[in-house]
Symmetry: C2
Subunit: 451 residues, 2 copies
């Protein structure tokens, strides 16, 4: 791909033929990047030099705000061609992101058949199998020969992803079996589909969660999976490349929740400042209000604090260490459950593991803290006792933090809350309060005579 | 799949034939779960009732500690059959995880050809394209007809994932073109491969990072990609289902690093307590030592603190809010860079976005904190001034935290450090120190007469 300016220059100099032939050498995904990076008025002109099918392929690849801008500059005829050229699932994805008035205008320019199909796709709930499936697939009948099947594939096999598994349906469109392209290629031309098809079929339901479907792909190393509606009629297929997108998107969602934000489907650079603000402020205010509990605890122990000022200087180190220890455990547990490596039934096994780890980590950290207190606070009265208080608190804090890090995500899962909510931000705030209470209780026990 | 006990019982009662026929109805991934959940002595017996190819398929699916236990119970002949039946990439993955003595024993039982191939695969660096590629693929010659190609596929097309794209190579095994199965199926039987092959080929290099390769799959919606060595000879192919695994594994690695741990390739439940401890203790101790800076700052401002005890009670809320605000930004930036939605060139754009968000969030949080101080601390002298100090500090802290959350991951990327290192744990510790300095400086400015 050349520099974007090169193509802009060719456009400005009206070298449409060379622009067209140069761009036809490129992948639609690269042309889409060019479209994103030139002013939209030029983008429309660039699209217009391309053949209809390439136009549609490029259009499907650009972000929705650019799609919206382009639609604003398209004629009704152009909108009609685009919507008819797009794969139906791409068309539905695109229209879903448009404001209602624009969506209406686009659908008005589609044929009735396309409109009905798109409306059907738009009805599936977010993140369901129905929203990621491809509705173009090859369907065969059990009575066909291999030779007849080949000629049907020749007629209907439009997209690369749709022909490698063919679906055998009855007159009601209910799934009877599957035949892979491999089997067809290796079979004799006169064999009957009903004899070579595989009837042991894995299925997905339209309303099933896409994460569940992704897990099945992962576990069984599937390349594609047929999707049926509630009456068991075949309505589409999901292919492994869609699953790669699902895995990517689900991980991003978890990163966002675990980073203390409401998840967003848009890429960062395409999200407005106000939207980003809205996604974040809820968590920030909520955690702040929750964090006020810590203030109340400090207020209660104010006398103890003021009597032994050295203790105060260790508060941030103590709460941070607790937060870090808890975050480690909760991160592993949340991720483990997300990829189905850990289930809530493993609670005892996991808790016992974390208890032993917390003991080892607690002792090491307590040792480091002890040495640090001794070295940096020489001259302080009762230094060894104070150092012991801090070290002991660390052991208890790490223990409690790791246990919270295991228990809270698993409890969330059990009660159908997204475990990702129980990640570092929330754990840190909860652990803060607990570790301070422990700190002052241990201090009172050892240094009570000072307070 | 029935309960694991059912199969164990059939084994105990020596009903080998029914056990065999029942298990052959199941998917190898499910049989592998059974193998994981029965004592290893029984697992071996269960494997032995299965045909060699199913044995290998199941063996490839179990975790490496179970593989090792099974190998210990296998005879040399059994080891020979397993290693020869496994796909070469699965065999290499399996041997890589074995202790050296066992690996040697296994390789000694393989044919020379298999051994050489496996040794070649084992040489590729971790996470390189070479380690995820499949070495079984269909290669055609340009002079072949479609009919001849079909009979070659019939002879060599062993695995489902290898036949949908065929590779045309010259006598030196250099890649000349690709032909998809679709093209073959749609072509006339007497057409020549050289005439229908696509010569515009995307490639991967054996030493390329798997994340880079995954990005290319994502961007261009690829189903497979040929892998060539430094002399441009075709050595394997990568298929999209391997890419789904890469995406999953890379996300897990980032979760671990961002949770403040050294990443591990093993699933949680299969990792020993000591290993988990080792992965975590480095970060915990490092962050604790770094966090001691905060203690030093508090020590410096000890007089100010003791003069206005109310301030102390707000320290945890302040540092937590800063940490949370910074974690939100860094999470989005790190993830955005991992999925190539954000590059370091976007720094100014991103920083400007975050500055505006931090202003909005800072003002809201400051308002909440102000009200909270007024309500909960009535009766305190100079209450409004103290509340103002806290609110103002929050505004500055959020501003600075969000800026750190953008700058540190991008700086890491620029200096070739993994940006995931600059996630919540480190950001929180850095922001703690900065926010405390700000807190006391603002307090001195407003409440100087008290200190």
């Amino acid at each position: 791909m050349k520099e974007y300016q090169t193509y802009e220059k060719m456009l400005d100099e009206k070298q449409y033929n060379s622009l067209r032939s140069e761009l036809l050498e490129e992948n639609p995904a690269d042309i889409a990047q060019l479209i994103e990076n030139v002013p939209v008025e030029k983008a429309v002109l660039i699209l217009r030099v391309l053949p209809k099918d390439v136009q549609a392929a490029v259009f499907a690849e650009v972000y929705s705000d650019t799609q919206q801008a382009l639609i604003g500059l398209f004629s009704d005829t152009e909108i009609h061609f685009i919507i008819e050229e797009l794969f139906l699932d791409d068309a539905a994805d695109f229209i879903e992101e448009m404001p209602a008035t624009i969506a209406k205008k686009i659908l008005a320019n589609a044929t009735k058949e396309t409109r009905d199909e798109i409306n059907r796709l738009l009805k599936y709930p977010d993140n369901s199998a129905g929203t990621i499936m491809t509705v173009e697939y090859v369907d065969l009948k059990r009575g066909m020969t291999v030779r007849e099947s080949f000629s049907r594939i020749r007629k209907t096999g439009t997209d690369k992803e749709t022909i490698y598994t063919c679906y055998v349906t009855d007159s009601e469109r209910r799934l009877e079996g599957v035949v892979t392209a491999k089997k067809l290629m290796l079979a004799e031309r006169e064999e009957i589909i009903g004899d070579i098809m595989d009837t042991n079929i894995m299925l997905a339901q339209t309303y099933e969660d896409q994460e569940e479907v992704a897990r099945r792909f992962n576990k069984y190393d599937l390349l594609s999976l047929p999707v049926v509606d509630s009456e068991n009629r075949l309505v589409g297929i999901i292919t492994v490349d869609d699953i790669a997108d699902v895995i990517q998107a689900e991980a991003t969602e978890d990163f966002e929740i675990m980073g203390g934000m409401a998840p967003s489907e848009k890429p960062y650079l395409k999200t407005s400042v106000f939207e980003l603000f809205k996604n974040r402020i809820g968590w920030l205010v909520g955690l702040m209000i929750l964090g006020m509990g810590t203030g109340i605890i400090l207020k209660i122990f104010e006398d103890a604090m003021l009597a032994v000022p050295l203790l105060i200087t260790f508060i941030p180190m103590l709460t941070d260490t607790g937060g870090n220890a808890g975050a480690q455990s909760s991160t592993l547990i949340i991720r483990g459950m997300a990829v189905s490596e850990i289930t809530t039934q493993d609670f005892m096994k996991v808790a016992w593991k974390e208890i032993r780890i917390s003991m080892m980590a607690g002792v090491v950290l307590a040792g480091v803290a002890f040495v640090r207190v001794i070295i940096l606070s020489t001259g302080e009265a009762d230094l060894y006792i104070k150092a012991a208080v801090i070290s002991l608190t660390i052991i208890f804090t790490v223990f409690m933090s790791k246990l919270c890090g295991v228990a809270l995500p698993m409890l969330a899962k059990k009660t159908k809350i997204d475990p990702a909510v129980m990640a570092a931000p929330l754990i840190t705030t909860i652990v803060d309060a607990c570790s301070l209470i422990m700190f002052f209780m241990i201090a009172k026990l050892f240094l009570g005579y000072l307070m």
